[in-house]
């Protein structure tokens, strides 16, 4: 496992246009500069947002990495949920899923509470 380097590459792709350009021109050369397992490389290249989430990538990095790949917000959330189904709970870091009723059910509950007030 080398979560640190997965996150570092994502950070540099998110924040540095030159790294992004080099990555687009020759992905393998950039990937070789980081200590990554085959699973991590595969997840980055695809990109498999669900697996990256389960590997423990910090959400403040993964959110922008998803946006970089033109993945819209609801799709980003759905891919993380699918990752949990496919690969099990988050393995490292502080972005584990803890269970949630969902925005729509939550909104409906809050609306009921507001009406009671």
């Amino acid at each position: 496992m080398s979560l640190y380097y997965v996150q570092k590459l994502i950070y540099e792709l998110n924040r540095d246009p030159r790294t992004r350009a080099r990555y687009e021109a020759g992905r393998d050369a950039v990937l070789a500069e980081y200590q990554l397992t085959d699973e991590e490389k595969g997840a980055l290249v695809k990109p498999d947002i669900g697996l990256l989430y389960v590997l423990g990538v910090n959400g403040q990095l993964l959110m922008h990495f998803a946006a970089l790949h033109k993945i819209e917000w609801p799709d980003y959330l759905e891919r993380m949920r699918q990752g949990l189904k496919d690969h099990g709970q988050v393995r490292e870091g502080v972005y584990a899923a803890t269970g949630y009723e969902g925005v729509e059910a939550h909104d409906a509950r809050l609306k009921q509470e507001r009406e009671k007030r």
Binding site: Y4, Y11, Q60, A67, W73, Y100, V103, H106
Partner: protein, 274 residues
Amino acid sequence: MPLVYCGACSHAPGITARADRADTQTRQALEKAFGRMGDEIRATKPDALVVIAAEHFANFFMNNMPAFAIGMADSYEGPIEDEAFLKIKRTTVPGNKALSRKLIEKVMQTVDVAYAEEWKFDHGISVPLHFLTPDYDLPIIPANINCQGPPLAPLARAWAFGEALRAAADSVPERIALIGTGGISHWPATPDSGKINQAWDQEFLRRWSANDREALLSYTDAETYRDAGQGGFEIRTFIAAAAAARGAKGTVQFCEPVPIFAVSCTIARMAVAA
């Protein structure tokens, strides 16, 4: 001059990014509360606004992560986020390098703060400024607390940082306003985005408004993670603001849970004498 204004507010990117998906009435009430906060800040005639925000990997990474940092430049660019995503136009915001340097030198007397002559704003600063200073006409002094990549500075050090900022603000002739920005309980950028622990938020804000140092510093990170999510680590920014208020009490001017914005949207002010 003694600190002229002290407050705290939310900075969740959903507030602008997903504005159209929230209940209209709630969104308008929040925007009104932000507008009032901006008016109140301007009414104190500040020369600069210190914004204590939380790390989101805009400027720092885990290869070299400062616990505390303050910007030291004459201008800052932001937001870093995709403009179409955040729905805030990227712009240049004025800073004040000389004033930053004076404040940093004073803060350094008690807290080993990092300084940064380059700094990009992310939603932690850009979302509040979008509402508070929409004309970007007030010099901003950005400050940052690592609330993102553990190990995190203990809450008592966040308090010390707030105290140091207060001593620094009081030591310069300029009129300094200060805000902390962050979520309270939230699980941002996870499949649980939208989850809010309303009772926990209310209790935290009660302690904040009472400016009860002991109660504010009594949370352990394990408890915060369990009850308020990893986003809850951002209470450090509120705690620093409370310390900067130096015993003054606070008022929560707005607090409503908005799941699509992923937080209890909050606007609060400490009664520092201006």
